[in-house]
């Protein structure tokens, strides 16, 4: 039993080490020649929506979900913060800064820091700390609190990116009723299903973590996407190999 744990630990360490090495090597190799990715209509529409935000002086609303940073859902929260940073930079030429809503207090503080930094980098001196908001600490209070900004603050695009449950449908439904563009993504399976039914564009599965690469956030994002693809093929090979060995009676 302990032997199995050690082997599994070593395998996990090997995967992390291999991924880190590949990511570093690919980001150096491909710094000058960024890879081209398959087209995702959701990101094409997001680019158009961001352009519209800048042109018509409306606002972008980014909802980061409820993923606590010290929980397994922290990765989706970090992916959400990464795209918030990129979108805040892209809309810095607009009249109004984006609004970020969160259902986790630490995430709300980080969203404030992200928006403040984007404002400082673009030379905006009048940063509004209330642009990064904690709207509630339970799933439904968070969703209920994220709805008024969509209705009342001249929002023309809503991006949901992070850890959400089925309560996300309430936010995307209001976005639809307000005729605003909505792009939704979560690491939660039930949330992905309700988002598919209610949001205008949905990112399924690991597409959530590809958002940074599609938003041109840098060579590391692009290389991490390539590493994800390599690891996926590795996982497929291991599963097929395991199935074949099992069928042959070796395992």
């Amino acid at each position: 039993m302990i032997g199995n744990e050690i082997i599994l630990g070593l395998v996990a360490f090997g995967v992390v080490f291999l991924s880190a090495g590949l990511m570093l090597a690919l980001s150096i190799l491909r710094a000058k020649n960024p890879p081209s990715f398959r087209s995702l209509p959701a990101f094409d529409r997001l680019r158009r929506a961001v352009g519209r935000v800048v042109e018509d002086g409306s606002r972008l609303h980014v909802s980061l979900g409820r993923g606590g940073l010290v929980t397994p859902q922290g990765a989706s929260a970090l992916a959400g913060l990464s795209i918030l940073r990129r979108l805040a930079d892209l809309t810095s030429a607009g009249d109004k800064p984006p609004i970020a809503t969160s259902g986790d207090a630490a995430l709300a503080l980080l969203s404030q820091a992200t928006l403040q930094e984007a404002a400082e980098n673009s030379g905006q001196l009048d940063y509004d700390p209330s642009a990064g908001r904690l709207t509630g600490l339970t799933p439904f209070s968070y969703a209920a609190g994220a709805i008024p900004p969509i209705r009342d603050e001249n929002v023309s695009a809503t991006v949901l990116m992070g850890n959400f449950g089925i309560e996300a449908a309430l936010i995307t439904d209001v976005a639809n009723r307000s005729n605003t563009f909505s792009l939704a993504s979560s690491d939660n399976l039930a949330a992905q299903a309700v988002m598919y039914a209610t949001a205008q564009e949905t990112l399924i599965g690991e597409e959530l973590f590809a958002a940074g690469a599609y938003a041109d956030s840098g060579p590391f994002h692009a290389s991490s996407l390539t590493v994800q693809d390599i690891l996926r093929w590795l996982a497929i090979a291991v599963m097929l190999g395991g199935a074949l060995l099992k069928a042959a009676g070796i395992l």
Binding site: A79, L109, I166
Partner: protein, 212 residues
């Protein structure tokens, strides 16, 4: 990068590496350091809740003073927040306040959340009806047909009971074979994405703590 950003990146990367090393290498010194850092993170997260609540208060006070739409609801929110906070502070030292604190949750929070859950059922039904009009594709059609088949297989028909073929064959096949295998595929993808995101933070490529 500014000196502040460089320092925060160095601290974050170092802490991340120590926690990661403590997970894989079971040396006492690394495990203890890793546990200490995680405990600090949990303490900071708890303190962040207080700051988050102050932020919520500031946002709603701003709404009232700027006479924005929905300001009346902000007054109710602030009143309820301060009252619950006061009762919560009193409860451990003043026993009669304790039932009032429980009452605030049982009589207000729970029914409101249950109502929103009920509203969600209606919202999802309406959204599913509108889905083909909004986004007509093969996947949308599969989504709706699958949803209908699972519903039909799960809920018995009035006077007839279970639907033959659907309840005993189709629904279990969809739920336990097709949906389960698809879900596992998605979860593997999410896990790989989470790994890549974690590594980006460890390399300092993503810096949610600031310092571009």
């Amino acid at each position: 990068m500014k000196l502040k950003g460089l320092f925060s990146t160095a601290v974050a990367v170092l802490c991340g590496l120590v926690v990661l090393a403590g997970y894989f290498v079971r040396l006492d010194i690394l495990v203890n350091a890793s546990n200490t850092l995680i405990t600090w993170a949990i303490l900071l997260t708890a303190f962040a809740i207080l700051l988050g609540i102050i932020n919520l208060l500031i946002v709603h006070v701003g709404k009232i003073t700027r006479k924005q739409k929905g300001g009346f609801y902000s007054i109710i929110l602030i009143f309820a927040m301060l009252a619950t906070f006061a009762i919560g502070l009193l409860a451990p030292h003043f026993p009669p306040a304790s039932p009032a604190f429980d009452f605030a949750f049982r009589a207000v929070q729970l029914p409101v959340e249950a109502s929103l859950m009920a509203l969600l059922a209606v919202t999802l039904t309406y959204a599913s009806i509108r889905l083909p009009r909004r986004r007509l594709s093969v996947f949308s059609v599969i989504f709706i047909i699958t949803g209908l088949l699972v519903l039909l297989g799960t809920a018995p028909l009035p006077f007839l009971g279970d639907t033959p073929l659907v309840s005993d064959t189709l629904r279990p096949t969809i739920a336990q074979v097709l949906a389960a295998s698809g879900a596992r595929g998605i979860l593997i993808g999410v896990a790989l994405g989470a790994l890549a995101t974690g590594l980006r933070v460890l390399f300092g490529a993503d810096r949610p703590y600031g310092g571009k």
